[in-house]
Symmetry: C2
DNA sequence: GGGATGTTACGGTCGCCACCGAAGCATCAG
DNA sequence: CTGATGCTTCGGTGGCGACCGTAACATCCC
């Protein structure tokens, strides 16, 4: 009863096109202002404000006041997981028509983008494939794990595995690696603490750079080199 | 664009109270008729029929005609995963009021119930704890796996691990064990192929029995014995 | 201080959708 | 065949909520 109600309330909030657009934009991992979110959702700021108030009321997004701006972001990784799960079901539907024309913007997203806190798109899939091929990780639809060789590898490229372990829930070494499936590649890629760490490292090392106001990222020349050299990824 | 639309469509379908009730009932794992679903959702058969048509149109549920009945069930494990993910977010909200009065029906659900294809409630948590304590499995919020000792243990109690491996996606041994969190215990329990296998075994051995038209199950005396003896579970 | 910008609050309009009653098919029993 | 049951389709009604215009409030810049 109360269980249904909560469930339906959350799903309904995510089910409005405007709110879905905002949540989708927030999957980019950055905190966005109310006006930015209004733009991406295609509604006026007043309307967006109302939506955001409801989303924060149920803890789907959180707010940080900063001067005259209010920065909104997803409230927790659980929200991102929920969105991924919904997208998995949604993308299972075969495309109803032929193929939609995809703009260059869409092409950039398919090449490489952020998925809340980790990398997705062809880059994300390539990195996952490379790590799996080298025996650093295992991954399937239902779960994943980092191998011993993977832990050594991570330490070698500058990821503090110990910190990841302590920050990752119960500290299980198996919690580091989570499969994430999304719309563009229809393939599994790296999520969880491992995916987040690699994404953070990539930004810190200048391997990737954010694109304008989008979830897309561009791979820098040094990044292209690093991914090939360190990870053995086929780009 | 098209991505948002699909996402919002699915979420909105799950977000209606009546449809949410039906989906919730179908989490029990059994196929239910349209009239049964109408009853649990508290609407007339005509209304339920419309809802079910929409749910089947987007492949959230599937139908099996059998005589003059139509049996509906969740279309895929992905749908169940999606619902669990939504419930995780929904249950994160601390109860707004004091505590709701819980009837005996609710008490039975909390004790032991079916969650699509595996066991949940106190029984599910106890089994998971026992397997983890014995080193047969590892489990965290982000992932899980079955250990070598776990595979041997499963073979010992009559679960064909080889069959599980082949039937479980890419055949990774790590895919057998998936964490599942839900509303009553706020604790992780066993999902995935392992959870389903143990659930099936429990029915086959007569350790548990379904309760009327509910997701709840009762533990038989032999089940109580078996869970304590074989699994070392604290009931 | 005054003016610009970002954000929220209020009121009113409009469209969509959940709902039911009545009627139409399909299936089974006799 | 006739009647009963399960389910769906069709039409019409009612209510909730998404949306915007206007306006108030907060913060920064000069």
């Amino acid at each position: 009863m109360t269980s249904h109600g909560q469930f339906a309330e959350i799903a309904a909030l995510a089910g409005d096109p405007a709110r879905a657009g905002m949540l989708h934009a927030l999957l980019g991992g950055r905190a966005l202002t109310a006006t930015e979110l209004a733009t991406v959702a295609g509604v006026t700021p007043q309307t967006a404000s109302g939506h955001l108030a409801r989303l924060t009321a149920v803890d789907l997004v959180s707010v940080m006041k900063q001067g005259r701006h209010r920065y909104y972001q997803l409230a927790s990784p659980a929200v991102a997981r929920m969105m991924e799960a919904i997208m998995e079901v949604a993308s299972d539907r075969q495309p109803p028509r032929k193929r939609l024309v995809v703009g260059p913007r869409d092409a950039a997203l398919r090449a490489a983008r952020i998925c809340y806190d980790h990398l997705a798109g062809r880059l994300g899939v390539a990195l996952a494939d490379a790590l799996i091929a080298d025996g650093h990780a295992e991954l399937s639809r239902e779960g994943g794990l980092v191998t011993d060789s993977g832990l050594r590898f991570l330490n070698g490229i500058g990821v503090d595995a110990a910190a990841m372990l302590s920050s990752s829930g119960k500290g299980s070494r198996r919690a580091l690696c989570r499969p994430c499936l999304d719309w563009s590649e229809r393939r599994i890629h790296l999520g969880g603490a491992l995916g987040a760490a690699i994404c953070r490292l990539s930004f810190d090392q200048g391997w990737i750079r954010r694109v304008d106001g989008s979830r897309a990222v561009t791979i820098t020349p040094s990044g292209r080199h690093a991914y090939r050299e360190h990870f053995g990824a086929q780009l």
